[in-house]
C-alpha cells in the first residue's frame, strides 16, 4: 500500500502578539492514520491544531506564516475558509451544545452548507449520532435542547456535529478533559472505527491515550516537534530525544 500524505505542514510559524509560539515547524500527516500529539503545556499543540483548519483566522492577534498543504494545496491560499472547515473538522476540549435542539445541532453544518433535503438531514443525523455512540441515549428526545444534556453527552454531540459534514481530517483537542472515563472509552472506541474513513489528529495530555489510539505520536516542546515516530518506537523506548522518553515516563511536564 502506498502511503499518501494527507497534510504537509511546511515552515509553519505562528506568532501571538509578537511572541512566537510555533517556529518553523514541519510535519507530514498520512491518510487514514491517527496522529497523537503530546507535550507539556504551552508547547504549541493547540495552536498547531487550530492552524490546520484556520480557526486562527478568528483571532486578530495570531499571525500564521508558512504553508499547510491539504492534498497538495495550500489551505491559506483560499480567501474563504468555510469550505476548508468542512473538510477538516475540529472537536474542542470543552463540550459545546449549541442552544438549539439536538437535531438542529447535528444538522447544523449541512444546513449551513445549503442542504435543505429533510430526508438527507435525518439520515445524516441518525448516522452521525450512531457513530458518536449517542443515538441510543437521545433518540427519543431529538427535539429537546442540546444544552440540557450532560457533559459527556454534549461532548459526544460535539463529535457527532463534527462528523456531520463528513470531514476528511478530524482534529481532536483534549476531547476527554471534561468527561468521565467510561464515556472516554466509548469515544475512543468510536475513533477506532472512524479511522477507516478519515485521518485523525489528536492532541492529548493523557500519555496512555496516545499509546492506545495513535498510529504515530509526535512530541512537541517549545513550539516545535521534538520527536515523531510510530507508537511502537516512541513507546518502545526508541526515542530520538531523551526528553521525549522522560516526558512519557512522567519525569517532566
Amino acid at each position: 500500500m502506498v502511503i499518501k500524505k494527507k497534510i504537509e505542514v511546511k515552515n509553519l510559524c505562528i506568532g501571538y502578539n509578537n511572541k512566537q509560539i510555533i517556529e518553523n515547524l514541519n510535519l507530514d500527516i498520512f491518510q487514514n492514520e491517527v496522529l497523537a500529539i503530546i507535550g507539556p503545556a504551552n508547547s504549541g499543540k493547540t495552536s498547531l491544531l487550530r492552524s490546520l483548519n484556520r480557526m486562527t483566522d478568528f483571532n486578530a492577534e495570531v499571525k500564521v506564516t508558512g504553508q499547510i498543504l491539504l492534498d497538495g494545496e495550500n489551505i491559506y491560499d483560499d480567501e474563504d475558509s468555510t469550505f476548508l472547515r468542512r473538510r477538516v473538522g475540529m472537536v474542542s476540549p470543552l463540550p459545546v451544545g449549541l442552544p438549539m435542539t439536538i437535531k438542529e445541532n447535528v444538522t447544523y453544518a449541512p444546513r449551513m452548507a445549503g442542504c435543505k433535503d429533510e430526508k438527507e438531514l435525518d439520515h445524516i443525523m441518525e448516522d452521525c449520532l450512531k457513530k458518536a455512540a449517542l443515538w441510543d441515549e437521545v433518540k427519543d428526545r431529538l427535539n429537546g435542547l442540546a444544552t440540557k444534556l450532560s457533559g459527556g453527552q454534549q461532548q459526544r454531540l460535539t463529535i457527532a456535529r463534527a462528523l456531520s459534514h463528513h470531514p476528511e481530517v478530524l482534529c481532536l483537542d483534549e476531547f476527554s478533559i471534561a468527561i468521565d472515563p467510561v464515556t472516554t472509552m466509548k469515544i475512543e472506541a468510536v475513533l477506532h472505527e472512524l479511522k477507516k474513513d478519515m485521518t485523525i489528529v489528536m492532541v492529548t495530555n493523557v500519555i496512555n491515550q496516545a499509546k492506545r489510539l495513535g498510529d504515530r505520536t509526535a512530541m512537541m516542546l517549545h513550539g516545535n516537534i521534538l520527536d515523531i515516530d510510530t507508537n511502537e518506537r516512541i513507546f518502545g523506548g526508541h526515542t530520538q530525544d531523551k526528553r521525549t522518553k522522560d516526558y512519557i515516563e512522567g519525569l517532566f511536564g
Binding site: 469550505f83 468542512r86 452548507a113 439520515h123 459534514h165 474513513d197
Partner: protein, 310 residues
Amino acid sequence: METKVAEASPLTMEWRKKKSTKPVSEKILEGLIKAGGYSSIILISAILFFICKEAFPFLLNAFDFKNFFFSTNWNPASVNNVSYGILALIVGTLCVTFISMLIAVPLGLATAFYISEFCSPRLRETYKILIEFLAAIPSVVWGFVAIMMINPLIIKTFNVPIGLNILNASIILALMSLPLIVSVGEDALRAVPDTYREAAEAMGATRWEVATRVLLPAAKNGLLAAALLGVGRALGETMAVLMATGHSIQIPKSVFDPARTLTATIAAELGESPKGGEHYQSLFAIGLVLFIISLIVNVTADHLIRGRKK
C-alpha cells in the same frame, strides 16, 4: 478540485462537494455592518461640523475672544448695544453644577458602596431597578417639580422672595445625576476582584476597613469617573435647569440668587432669534462651547475607567 467524500453515503451529498463562494447578499450585509460600525464616528463629526457651520459667520465677524469669555454682558437682542459675553452664563453653569455635585457625589458614592458591598444580591437587584426608574424620570418633570414643589419649599424654609434660584436647580440636578453616579460607581466597585475582599477579610478586617483601605484605593479611578460623568450630566442638563434657575443673567452672589446656564440660554433664546442672524449664530457658538466641554469631561472619564482596567 475533486474532493473525496469520506463516507460512502446512499444520499447525494451534493452540498458537501460544493465549494462555497460568498454570495453578494452576504458581502452587502457585511459592508453594512462595517458602515454601521463607523456611524458613531460619523455622527459625532457631523454634530461638530453642523454646529461649526451655523456658528461660523458669528465666529468670523462678531466674535471677540476676550469679550465672549470675560464679559458678563449678554445682550444679543439689543438694538444699539449688542454684546455677547457669556461669563455670567458660564459662572451660572459652574455654580449649579458645583453645588449639585456637593450633594450628589458623596450621597451617590455612599449609595454605590452600600449597594455593592452591604446588600444581598436580591436587594441589590431591586435597588438597581429602582435606580433605573429614577433615571427614567424625564427632565421636564424634574423642572415641573422644581417650579411646583421645591420653589414654595425654599420660599417658606429660607424666607426668600423667589424659590427659583441656584439652590433649587442644584437640588434638582443632584437628584437627576444621582442614578448615573450610583450605577457607574457601583460598576467600579464590582470591578474590584473578590479576591481582594476575601484576602482582607481573612486577615480580620471589618467591612468598613475593607471599604476604606482596600476598595477605595482599588476603585479610585472608577469612582472619580463616576463623579465626572455626574458633572457631565449636570453641565449638559437643559430643561430642568431652564425651569428651575429663574431667568437672570448675572454673576450670582448667593445660592438664593437666580441665574442662567449655557444650556438654558440656548433653549430659551433660539426660538426667538431670527434664523441666520447674529444672535442665532452666537447660540450655536455657545453650543460649540458646550460640545467641547462635554468632550473633555467624557474623554477624561473614559481615560480614568480605562486606566483602571490596565
